[in-house]
Amino acid sequence: MKKRPPILWIVVALNLVVLVALVFAYPHLMISPGPLVKGHEELATDCFACHAAWRGASTSRCTDCHAVADVGVKTTKGVPIPSRTVEVSFHQELIEQDCMACHSDHQGPKLTKRSRKPFSHALLKVAVKEQCSTCHAAPKDTVHRAVKVECSQCHGDKAWKPATFDHDQYFVLDRDHQASCETCHKNNDYSRYTCYGCHEHSEAKVRAEHLKEGIRDFQKCVECHRDPRVEPEKGRGRDRGGRKRD
């Protein structure tokens, strides 16, 4: 084999030395997978503040500065945080302490910004997980403000949308009732409904039909007509507000 000039090996060795020197001098540029989050900017050149050699970042290194009992209560410098934040539940009500399950303190790639791990509700203690209001404020929109049921009836714990809502529990939308929401729920107010929104059920017509049978309390339609395919029980309306009061 033809012997290679040693100059090549010297150049390669020098490159290696320069590279290693650059890695130690500018680790945040040379090997960091992304800039650190705002609170940890000053640690940018001190990788071993969070990383243990050959073992990666560890929870114990996080909790050295961020005592779990203090998260959301006081800062790492001991300054009390005036109002209780959701961070308290996020950190003190977990089934186990595993900071890296949610935190990646290196910001994501500039192109995608997707290195942040989504919070998993599975990490919460059951009692906290079932009380959504511990962390989430109830929505004040017309869809939700009068809702009394558990959030989990419609929403999963992975994302707010898509939500599932079983309209049949309240009124069965059979083939004759495939109308737009606005037909029954005026002004997007889902806490109320009206059956008089369509031509078939004009108030005068409904009134005449019910009075003919001696039913006076016919304003709460779905109490008797939950399923339009099923005839309401005979005498039900009469018992509640009909002839009995006559």
Partner: protein, 194 residues
């Protein structure tokens, strides 16, 4: 112009196609991983990619007689295939993310290396055949051997220049090896492997 058409089909097109296919496939696979939210797969592809590239060096070791077994021609085909596939996986692993300089230098060194390999593979083959065809034509015309060498002087120089790809390919490989090793060591040093 049948000769030009043949050259284009046999040399230029495979060279461009091979490089373009590498880039297009890497982008397509990376796009799919993003689309299906499988970025973690790309993170691990660096390992099989590296192993394939290491496997491809069997030819280089055989050529330098550091190993004795294996048919050189077959090993060369494997060298080309494994290095290409390994580079593809490493490219997907790198993604289009502009983060650590070290990782980027390693990727660029790898791409230059693939480029030099493909250039050598296609251009060297082309030059050798062109030279041989010219030599045969001149012999057929009855040109004496001395005059024939004079006529082919510039072609010989060109051929020697093209042969330099080997000289270029090796230091680029070394640079790539050094950068990739530094990246791998840094990963082992700081990554959690959980």
């Amino acid at each position: 112009m049948p000769l030009k058409a043949r050259l284009f089909q046999r040399e230029v097109l495979p060279f461009v196609a091979s490089f373009a296919l590498l880039a297009a496939l890497a982008l397509a696979l990376d796009g799919l991983l993003h689309l299906f939210d499988l970025l973690w797969v790309g993170r691990w592809l660096g390992i099989p990619g590296t192993l394939l590239i290491i496997g491809s060096t069997a030819y280089s070791l055989r050529k330098r007689k550091l190993i004795r077994s294996g048919h050189p021609a077959k090993l060369l085909r494997w060298h080309e295939l494994l290095a290409w596939l390994g580079s593809l996986l490493v490219l997907v692993h790198a993604g289009v993310h502009f983060n650590a300089i070290l990782g980027w230098l390693a990727v660029w060194a790898m791409l230059i290396n693939v480029g030099s390999g493909l250039t050598g593979k296609f251009l060297l083959d082309r030059s050798r055949r062109r030279m041989e065809e010219a030599r045969q034509r001149m012999r057929a015309r009855g040109l004496p051997e001395g005059e024939l060498e004079d006529q082919l002087y510039w072609d010989s120089l060109t051929f020697d220049a093209v042969k330099q790809w080997r000289v270029v390919h090796f230091p680029i490989t070394l640079a790539f090896a050094v950068l990739a090793t530094a990246h791998i060591v840094a990963t082992f040093l700081f990554w959690g492997w959980q």
